[in-house]
C-alpha cells in the first residue's frame, strides 16, 4: 500500500492488517516510554486546509511517537493565504523529501491529486465530503475491540449523511467488515442514490431498535440556514439519540465534535454505552499504524514472525 486515499481502495485484509498493527501500538502505549524509533530521520508533513482538533493532533502525535520529524502546516497563515495553488504548495513541501504527507482539504479528490504530484506517501485526512479513511479505521478498530467482530452487526448511521465524509468512509468500511448498515436522517440530508453503496435507507428512527451500534453524525448549524432542516429543534425532536431512543444493549458512537443537545443528548454522551472516548484513544494508535504500514510496513516486517506484527522496536 503506497497511499491511504480512501476506504474504497482497501480490501478487508488490508483493513485488518492496519487494525492488527494498531493493536501492537496499543501495547506500546502502555509502556512508560511510549516512543519507538521506527521513523527516525524521516519527515512527515501534515497539511491541513481545514480546521481540525482530533485528526491533526493525533496524526502529529502519531508521527512523533514513531520518532519522525514533523512539519505541521495550517492553511491559515501560510503561503496558501497568499494564493498559492495546491500543486505548487505540494511541490514546495516535497523539496524537503518527506516520507509522508498527511492532508486534509475541503474538496473531494485532493489527496488523490496530491499523490500524483509527490514521491511521498499520501494520507487522506479528509477530502471534502468524500472520504475520511483514518476515521473509519479507528471506528472499526474501536468496534472490533468491543465486539470481537463486525460480522453480521447491524449499524445505523444517523444524521447529516449528505455532507459527511465520515458517513461515506464508515459505511464502506463497516460493510467491508461484514456489518449491515442503515443510513438514517431527514430526506433532505440523505444523498440520492446512496443505496447503491449497499446500505438501507430510513427516514425515521422508528426501526433503530434493531441496531447493535448507533453511529450519530455531527449536525452543523449552517445546514439550517440552507433550509435542509426547518430548525435544529425539529431535527433534534426527530433524530436526536437520547436514552429514550437508545436501549441498554446498543453501543453509541460519534466522530466528534458533538453538538450536545442536538444530535446527541448529554445523558447519551456520558452513558456507559458511549464509545466516544475510546474512539479518540483509538485515533492515536490507528494513525500510528497507518504511518507504519505506509512507511515501514513491507520492508520492516521480519520473516518467520507469523501473522502477529511485532517490529515495533525498542523504546527510543
Amino acid at each position: 500500500m503506497k497511499h491511504l486515499l480512501s476506504i474504497e481502495q482497501l480490501s478487508r485484509e488490508e483493513i485488518e492488517a492496519i487494525l492488527d498493527r494498531a493493536e501492537s501500538f496499543a501495547e506500546v502505549g502502555r509502556r512508560d516510554i511510549k516512543k519507538v524509533p521506527t521513523l527516525r530521520g524521516r519527515t512527515v508533513v501534515s497539511l491541513f486546509y481545514e480546521s481540525s482538533t482530533r485528526t491533526s493532533s493525533s496524526f502529529d502525535l502519531a508521527a512523533k511517537r514513531l520518532s519522525a520529524d514533523l512539519v505541521s502546516v495550517k492553511a491559515a497563515g501560510s503561503s496558501v493565504d497568499k494564493g498559492e495553488s495546491l500543486k505548487d504548495t505540494i511541490a514546495t513541501l516535497s523539496a524537503y523529501d518527506p516520507a509522508a504527507i498527511v492532508i486534509r482539504h475541503p474538496y473531494a479528490g485532493a489527496a488523490q491529486m496530491v499523490a500524483g504530484w509527490t514521491e511521498a506517501a499520501v494520507v487522506n485526512a479528509g477530502d471534502g465530503k468524500h472520504e475520511h479513511p483514518s476515521q473509519a479505521l479507528l471506528d472499526v478498530y474501536t468496534l472490533r475491540r468491543r465486539l470481537g467482530s463486525l460480522e453480521g452487526t447491524k449499524i445505523w448511521i444517523v444524521g447529516d449523511v449528505l455532507h459527511s465524509r465520515v458517513a461515506r468512509s464508515n459505511l464502506i468500511a463497516f460493510e467491508r467488515m461484514g456489518a449491515e448498515v442503515t443510513v438514517c436522517g431527514p430526506p433532505t440530508l440523505i444523498p440520492r442514490g446512496i443505496e447503491a453503496l449497499g446500505c438501507e435507507v430510513s427516514y425515521s428512527l422508528d426501526g433503530v431498535g434493531e441496531a447493535d451500534v448507533v453511529y450519530a453524525l455531527r449536525m452543523q448549524k449552517e445546514r439550517m440556514s440552507e433550509s435542509f432542516v426547518p430548525s435544529l429543534r425539529e431535527y433534534a425532536a426527530n433524530f436526536q439519540i437520547n436514552p429514550r431512543r437508545l436501549n441498554p444493549r446498543q453501543l453509541l458512537m460519534h466522530p466528534g465534535p458533538v453538538n450536545r443537545g442536538v444530535e446527541l443528548s448529554g445523558e447519551a454522551i456520558d452513558s456507559p454505552q458511549s464509545l466516544i472516548a475510546e474512539q479518540v484513544a483509538a485515533g492515536l494508535v490507528v494513525r500510528m499504524a497507518i504511518l507504519y504500514e505506509l512507511l515501514a510496513g513491507a520492508e520492516a516486517a521480519p520473516s518467520g514472525e507469523g501473522s502477529r506484527p511485532t517490529p515495533i522496536g525498542t523504546p527510543a
Binding site: L86, K87, A108, G109, M113, D127, R168, P191, G193, L197
Partner: protein, 449 residues
C-alpha cells in the same frame, strides 16, 4: 444563407481539387457512391465517374478507400476572445475546427467582457476575416453583460452581423426576461440558443446527482435542473410563436421535453455533445477534472441512451461540441474547484465514429447527417456535396488509428475529454468555403497533373 455570405473567414486561394475515387456519402442529398469529386471556384463542380474527372491544372488527391462527407458544422464553440486569449482565440479555435473536419462554427458570447454590442460583433468579424481558417459566426448575448435582466440591442446586433443570441454559460433565469426576448425575436430575427439550468436546483453542484455523486460526496446537479427549464422555455416559445435552440442536452427528461414540444408544434431545435453521447458519470469516479468536469454534467447510462435515441428520431438534430478550452492551472485542482468544460472540435468525428458507429450503435450516415445539422437552426445552408453546392468537404480515413494529443493540438488548450485515447477514423483534409482549411501533415497528396 450560404456560409460564406453569413460568416467570416480569412480569404485564401480557392482550391481546384480532384478527390479521385472517393467514397462519397451525403445522406441528405441522397449520395452514397464512389466518385471523383471536383472542387473548383468555391463549388462542388462535379461528381464524376471514378477516374473520369478532367484534372487539367487541378491538385489530384488519390482518395480511393477514403470517405468524403459534407464538412461538419458546429453551432457551439467557445473561442474565448475577447478576454481569455490564453485559452483560445479566433485563429487557434478555427484551426482546431478545420482539423476536426468543420467548415463552419458559431462562437459563444460569454467572453470577458461578453459580446453585447454591435461594436463587439464588428471587431470579432474583422478578426475572423484576418485569421479564421474556417467561416465563423458570432452570437451576441441575449441580456446585457449576461446579467439576465435587460435585453441587448438585438436589432442593431443583428444588423452588425450577429448570427443569433445566447447567454450560454448561464441560463436566463427570469421567465419574464425570456419571454421578452422571444417577443422581440419577431422584430430582430435570429435564433436564441439556450443554456438550460435552474440554478435554484443545480446550486453548488459539480456533477450529475445520482449514485456516483452519492458515493463521491460531491454535490449533485439533478437532471430536473435542466429539464424543467427546457419545458418552461418550450412553453414560452410556443406561446410567443418564437424559435429556440436548446444547447447541450444532457438528461433523458430534457430529450423528452424537446420531443413533446416538437410534437406540439413548437419551433425548437436541440443539440447534444460528443462527450454526453460517449461518457457517463462513471467517468467522474476517477475525480480527474480534465476529462470529466463540465456543465451540464455527464449523466447516467439511461440519459446517454436517451440522447442517442434523440439523434436517431431527430429530436436532437445536431451534434455540437461545446468546445470549451481551459488552461492546466484551471484543471490541475481538485474536481469541485476545477473549471467546467472540455475541448472537442478536433476529436468529435473520430470519437463518435469509434464509440457509436464502429460498435453499431448508430450508422455512419446518421453521424454524418447530425455533425452537419447545426447550420439550419441558425438559418444557414446545410453543407452538401450535391453538385453546385458551396465546397464544404471533409475527407476521412475511417480505418486510421491515432492517439488523441500525441502530436499536440491545434487548439491552444489541451483539456480534451478523450486525451490519450486511441480513436479510429481520422480527418485527412477539410475544404471550407472552397478553401483548403486543413490537411494532415502526414497525409501525402497527389501532385498536380
Amino acid at each position: 444563407m450560404s456560409l460564406t455570405d453569413a460568416l467570416d473567414v480569412r480569404a485564401c486561394e480557392q482550391a481546384f481539387l480532384v478527390l479521385r475515387r472517393a467514397t462519397v456519402l451525403d445522406p441528405v442529398a441522397g449520395i452514397d457512391a464512389v466518385h471523383d469529386v471536383v472542387i473548383r471556384d468555391g463549388e462542388i463542380a462535379a461528381l464524376a465517374a471514378p477516374g473520369e474527372a478532367e484534372a487539367e491544372g487541378a491538385e489530384v488527391v488519390e482518395a480511393e478507400g477514403l470517405h468524403a462527407f459534407p464538412a461538419f458544422f458546429d453551432p457551439h464553440v467557445h473561442l474565448r476572445t475577447p478576454g481569455h486569449e490564453h485559452k483560445e482565440d479566433v485563429e487557434t479555435g478555427t484551426r482546431a475546427a478545420a482539423a476536426g473536419g468543420y467548415c463552419g462554427i458559431l462562437a459563444m458570447a460569454n467572453t470577458q467582457p461578453p459580446v453585447s454590442t454591435a461594436a463587439d460583433i464588428s471587431a470579432l468579424r474583422e478578426q475572423a476575416r484576418a485569421s479564421a481558417s474556417v467561416p465563423v459566426g458570432f452570437l451576441a448575448t441575449v441580456t446585457r453583460a449576461m446579467e439576465g435582466t435587460d435585453l441587448t440591442e438585438m436589432v442593431e446586433l443583428r444588423e452588425a452581423g450577429a448570427i443569433g443570441f445566447s447567454d450560454d454559460g448561464l441560463p436566463i433565469v427570469d421567465a419574464g426576461v425570456m419571454r421578452r426576448a422571444l417577443q422581440y425575436q419577431h422584430l430582430c430575427g435570429g435564433n436564441i440558443a439556450l443554456h438550460e439550468e435552474d440554478p435554484a436546483l443545480s446550486r453548488d453542484g459539480a456533477m450529475h446527482e445520482g449514485p456516483v455523486s452519492a458515493a463521491l460526496g460531491i454535490a449533485g446537479i439533478p437532471s430536473v435542473s435542466e429539464s424543467t427549464m427546457v419545458a418552461r422555455d418550450a412553453a414560452l416559445a410556443g406561446y410567443e410563436q418564437a424559435r429556440i435552440h436548446v444547447q447541450h442536452l444532457s438528461a433523458a427528461e430534457s430529450v423528452e421535453a424537446v420531443r413533446a414540444a416538437k410534437a406540439a408544434g413548437v419551433q425548437i431545435s436541440a443539440e447534444a455533445s460528443p462527450h454526453h453521447l460517449c461518457l457517463t458519470d462513471e467517468a467522474v469516479r476517477g475525480l480527474d477534472p480534465h476529462r470529466s468536469k463540465m456543465n451540464p454534467p455527464l449523466r447516467e447510462e439511461s440519459d446517454r441512451q436517451a440522447l442517442i435515441e434523440g439523434l436517431r428520431d431527430g429530436t436532437v438534430e445536431c451534434i455540437a461540441t461545446d468546445h470549451a478550452p481551459h488552461q492546466p492551472e484551471e484543471k490541475d485542482v481538485p474536481f469541485e474547484q476545477a473549471a467546467m468544460g472540455v475541448t472537442g472540435l478536433e476529436t468529435a468525428f473520430a470519437a463518435l465514429h469509434t464509440e457509436l458507429v464502429l460498435p453499431g450503435v448508430i450508422d455512419l450516415a446518421l453521424l454524418v447527417e447530425r455533425l452537419a445539422g447545426g447550420a439550419e437552426p441558425f438559418d444557414l445552408e446545410r453543407p452538401s456535396l450535391a453538385p453546385g453546392s458551396e465546397a464544404n468537404v471533409v475527407l476521412c480515413d475511417l480505418g486510421a488509428e491515432w492517439t488523441v494529443g500525441e502530436d499536440g493540438y491545434e487548439s491552444r488548450s489541451a483539456n480534451s475529454w478523450c486525451a490519450g485515447q486511441t480513436l479510429t477514423g481520422r480527418v485527412l483534409m477539410t475544404v471550407a468555403a472552397g478553401q483548403v482549411a486543413f490537411r494532415l501533415r502526414s497525409f501525402s497528396l497527389g501532385v498536380a497533373s
